[in-house]
Amino acid sequence: MTVLDHRHHAGVPGWLPGATAPRTDPAPLLPDPSPVRAIGTPALEKYDPALLRELYRRLVVGRRYNQQATTLTKQGRLAVYPASTGQEACQVAAALVLGEHDWLFPSYRDTLAVVSRGVDPLEALTLLRGSAHTGYDPRASRTAPLCTPLATQAPHAVGLAHAARLRGEPVVALAMLGDGGTSEGDFHEALNFAAVLDAPVVFLVQNNGYAISVPLRAQSAAPSLAHKAVGYGMPGRLVDGNDAPAVHSVLTEAVERARAGGGPTLVEALTYRIDAHTNADDATRYRTEPEVAAWREHDPILLMERALRGLGVLDDRLVREAADEAEALAARMRAEFHTDPELDPMSLFAHVYAEPTPQLREQAAQLAAELAAEAEVADR
């Protein structure tokens, strides 16, 4: 009788077309136990205090990084900056859960995750500075270029994870997306491919409530974005995205499952973008001050500091050390971004193809001649 069954998973009640006694009542079909869960704060006392302190330190440094980059934008040192202020728990947890050989697939908003992974801030920010599309070496850092077309990085993460698995290498790929990005077709296709291929990939949706100005209720009618996992046959997890240990633990679980051959997971982290979409955005057009204020109360650093002090694993010295490190980073950023970069106009032609085409060689010669003529004029 199984030849009549186009379904292939456990979890669906024993109902088949052509079953001798067809059910006459609607039968609920959702699997039990539910693959979609909300994850609360883990039992922190079981956590390695060093790890908790590391999370805290990264949060503090991350916040300062966001603030400094925002300031640099106001000073015209960056072309644009989509800050992750308020979302630092997701950013640093994403960086922290990945091993050296794992890959991160960040979006334009995730430079902090990239920096927290170890990429130099100057290199991580060339896209947003306007000096180069990608300043870091993706292979060396195992960090894909910051991705701007929404959700298009998700299938890349799947393909990379799939390739690694085919090669027998225990690599996990983590793709970062926003709530808005879940509406794109590429999100759907990536999750489906991941589930069908059993690819070791984790999708982290930072649900910050808005896609630029569009609130989640105009984006999705689902009970949660984590529920989208059901349609692909993968586990879904909903977590407080401002609770750093919670995000860390749910991502760790997902990364470990992926690495162990358990396939992909969709994680929704509820968080909030404290700043506007970018410096170019006017958030007062679409959200209220009380809403922002409520989320400021639920700040990831505040929560973390309170929790760790409560546990007794954080003291004033550690707080000061983190603050100092943050200031050092900010000072370095100010210094490094102070001068304009030296850019080679001829780099326009350097990497379009492995070898420039005859046409590009001609065009490069044209630009070189123009530059020489300009230099001559300038010299006179």
């Binding site: 072309a79 306007g130 077309p149 794109e184 630029i212 850019l343």
Partner: protein, 349 residues
């Protein structure tokens, strides 16, 4: 970033520009906003949909105030999915509405290309005229605004090479309004390409002044030695180049195509035949760009009138560069004048 517009000069062949009665100053962005508003006021079938077009008024504020005036149903913030937006607009048009879709940036229209190529461009033909799709797809396009990757593509070639679409692109404030109104009123689908870098340039603007219809090119500057053929974002650059050439003693005409499909063969051929020398200017990459079509058809039809080959001044055949390098990519006055200098003037004696 040049955003100044010269006041319109009389067209070569069309109606001469009427002196506006109720002149005010507006940016192209404001003119487009007025165009949408007036179209929505006049015709309840006009619906706007896209990402952030509601409370925010669009990232360029082109839809500013429309939701306030017409309600969220007439100006709809959609989920973030371009194929879904255009596909939904197709269904709305099938039911008799006249949707105006906003794509947020050039490169973010690409997810909708299948809907555009396989349905929007073909539905009328597919149904022998029974299901026309009066959809306007507004796409801010091109560079010169310091935008990071994916925010500056000059993507017109994808549209101009697709039969069944009209492709319209204004280069002046007045045309922004007039061509947008005409596009929305058209019973055919129109890809309406808005040159981002001209959004903020102001000019005198009278919404009641008539503009040349879709399908007509307009001579923005008369000249006696050669013609610069251009459109949209490159129009001000060409006018500046003509100004500079004047100082060097060369009198260049500037022809603004306004509509890439249908193409105004008549006006273009007449101007080229009368001058014998032409340079096509656009910022999109040259290879396979719309300028290739222009150069090819002009040569095919005006061959014996040409004193020199039709030259093209375009962006290089490279992915759009980062903002700090974009000025090397974009055709500027010097590059245009270099091309003009290569128009074999010595041959004429």
């Amino acid at each position: 970033m040049s955003t100044a517009h010269p006041s319109p000069t009389p067209t070569l062949g069309g109606a001469s520009a009427r002196r506006p009665s109720d002149v005010r100053t507006a940016s192209m962005a404001q003119a487009l906003n007025s165009g949408l508003r007036d179209a929505m006021r006049e015709d309840p079938a006009v619906h706007v949909l896209g990402e952030d077009v509601g409370a925010l008024g669009g990232v360029f504020r082109i839809t500013d105030g429309l939701t306030a005036e017409f309600g969220p149903e007439r100006c709809l913030d959609t989920p973030l999915a371009e194929a879904g937006i255009l596909g939904t607009a197709i269904g709305m048009a099938m039911y008799g509405l006249r949707p105006v879709v906003e794509m947020q940036f050039d490169a973010f229209a690409y997810p909708a290309l299948e809907q555009l190529f396989s349905h929007v461009a073909k539905m009328r033909n597919r149904t022998a005229g029974r299901l026309p799709l009066p959809i306007t797809v507004r796409i801010p396009y091109g560079g010169g605004i310091g935008g990071v990757e994916h925010h500056s593509d000059a993507s017109e070639a994808y549209y101009t090479s697709t039969p069944g679409l009209h492709v319209v692109t204004p280069g002046t404030v007045a045309d922004a309004y007039g061509l947008l109104r005409a596009s929305i009123a058209s019973d055919d689908p129109v890809v309406f390409l808005e040159p981002k870098r001209l959004y903020w340039g102001k000019a005198e603007f009278d919404p009641d002044a008539p503009v040349e219809p879709i399908g007509r090119a307009v001579l923005r500057r008369t000249g006696t030695s050669a013609v610069l053929i251009t459109y949209g974002p490159s129009l001000p650059v060409c006018l500046a180049a003509a100004e500079a050439a004047q100082a060097e003693g060369r009198d260049l005409a500037v022809l603004d195509l306004r509509t890439l499909v249908p193409f105004d063969d008549e006006t273009v051929f007449r101007v080229v035949r009368s001058l014998g020398r032409a340079v096509v200017v656009h910022e999109a990459s040259g290879f396979g760009g719309t300028g290739a079509e222009i150069a090819a058809r002009v040569t095919e039809r005006c061959f014996h009138h040409l004193a020199a080959p039709v030259l093209r001044v375009t962006g290089f055949d490279v992915p759009y560069p980062p903002p700090m390098l974009e000025h090397h990519h974009l055709p500027g006055v010097d590059r245009i004048l270099d091309a003009v200098a290569r128009l074999q003037w010595e041959d004429r004696g």
